[in-house]
Subunit: 205 residues, 3 copies
């Protein structure tokens, strides 16, 4: 971790808030629907992580910077989302979500290691942080969560969290975030760009 | 806050439990489905608020008064809900929900200010407290959350929470709860009565 | 409680993880979808209980045994679930869920009593622990939660939790877990085997 942690967290919050707002656009919500869905998506994963870690109160209550980021991004999206075509917006959701996934895998795993969690719990918390904001977004919007669809998603976060922990322990804390981020974004990005998916369950129905 | 906080909280719990039980009636659940949905709706928003604030354990574990209120209201609803016509019940859900929204906006914002949260976090927690019981209710029942539909809902809670904080800081803590409650209930009530809604997102689909 | 608490907890985690993985099979997910849904189902109820009790961090962060159990069970299910016919799998989900319900009612109520919760809160926490893993599983998978369907489910957990508390207070802590477990599994098992249900709400629609 190279001291970038707060910036990575803020960037992850912003892009996830953007995905929430774009889903709100697809569902034709009003400005406050945008704000609610954007904010819940932006801070949901990190809030769950901090609750599980037992940090209290959750940090955004004392320093609401991330809430402000979510509100600004959501309302900006309300007034600009029409600039994208419908298909452009669906793609923007996927790519912003991929960026947020990579950022939150890194910050989630880093925060867990910083709280002295063992390696396997740190990996688990990295995956939870990265995926639950989007899961809450999709559940609220009435969609099947992206994280449970067939394309490679949880896999990317899991691989990145493992690489982060290995780099942190075996290489150097200077490069763990960069390596972890790159692994998630590369795997998830290739999955989006090439339509990759894992072998699905092939049982008898 | 005029010392009414626990009473307002109990009243909010009771009316939200009622909305949960009435949704259970619409879904034709058995008595324990009523009890579960009523209780989760009644204490869900406040429980999330207390978890976010880091109050532990959550207060109803030490003093289960609110749980008892939820159970009594839910079971009473099971045996009396048939007295309302179907349409009367849909209206009762909306109005009880509006009352709960106003009560929980006030108690949520007040508790957050009491825990020394900054103004913007207090507003956010007021909105979360007021809306999440109903969101959990609607998700469990398989409906689109009322809070995300197009009519004015989150807006009312947000306006009331802001008025509460302003009144608390600038006027007098004697009147903040009354003013906050009035603002939420007036805005939400007018939205229900007149079918008001905000301009929805008007982009290209 | 006869010193079996950790073993009962692990068994409950394993059978709930199995139900999550079998639902993932029905939804034709990939291996990581199995792992995510299995893990969330296996540790969801206990995690919520520990958050409500204010135990921090949640115990699986310090000792990830239950996470490992969930991952092993989920991946084992991915490679073996095809051995069951579709109908056999639907039945396996129901019965494993019943076993987990009985185990988690006991461990949830026991942990709450151990944290000095009053009787009614201990009963409530037993029911929450037993039902919420499955509720989260069903919500994520887009199904109506089993706990809210018409067959006897919450009822069984509630009866078992009450019997547990009564046995613990009036008889002997040596037998509370056995009695509580037996009550839940017997009631829920009979409900499954005989298609029992409670009188549903019989109002005017």
């Amino acid at each position: 971790m190279t001291g970038l942690l707060p910036w990575l967290e803020w960037a992850g919050v912003a892009v996830f808030a953007l995905t929430g707002a774009l889903v709100a656009a697809r569902k034709q919500m009003d400005p406050f629907g945008f704000a609610l869905l954007g904010t819940v998506t932006g801070i949901g994963g990190g809030t769950l992580r901090d609750i599980l870690l037992g940090i209290r109160p959750v940090p955004w209550i004392l320093d609401p910077t991330v809430v402000v980021i979510c509100l600004v991004v959501s309302l900006a999206a309300f007034f600009t989302a029409h600039l994208f075509e419908r298909e452009g917006r669906a793609k923007a959701i996927l790519w912003a979500d991929a960026l947020g996934l990579a950022l939150f895998t890194v910050t989630g795993t880093a925060k867990a290691l910083g709280a002295d969690a063992p390696a396997i719990s740190a990996v688990m918390l990295g995956v939870v942080t990265a995926t639950f904001g989007g899961i809450i977004r999709d559940i609220l919007a009435g969609d099947v969560p992206l994280a449970l669809r067939r394309d490679i998603y949880v896999t990317a976060a899991l691989a990145g969290a493992i690489v982060f922990v290995l780099a942190n322990r075996l290489l150097s804390p200077e490069v763990d975030d960069l390596l972890g981020f790159a692994v998630v974004f590369l795997i998830r990005g290739l999955a989006i760009a090439r339509g990759w998916s894992l072998p699905q369950y092939g049982g008898r129905g």
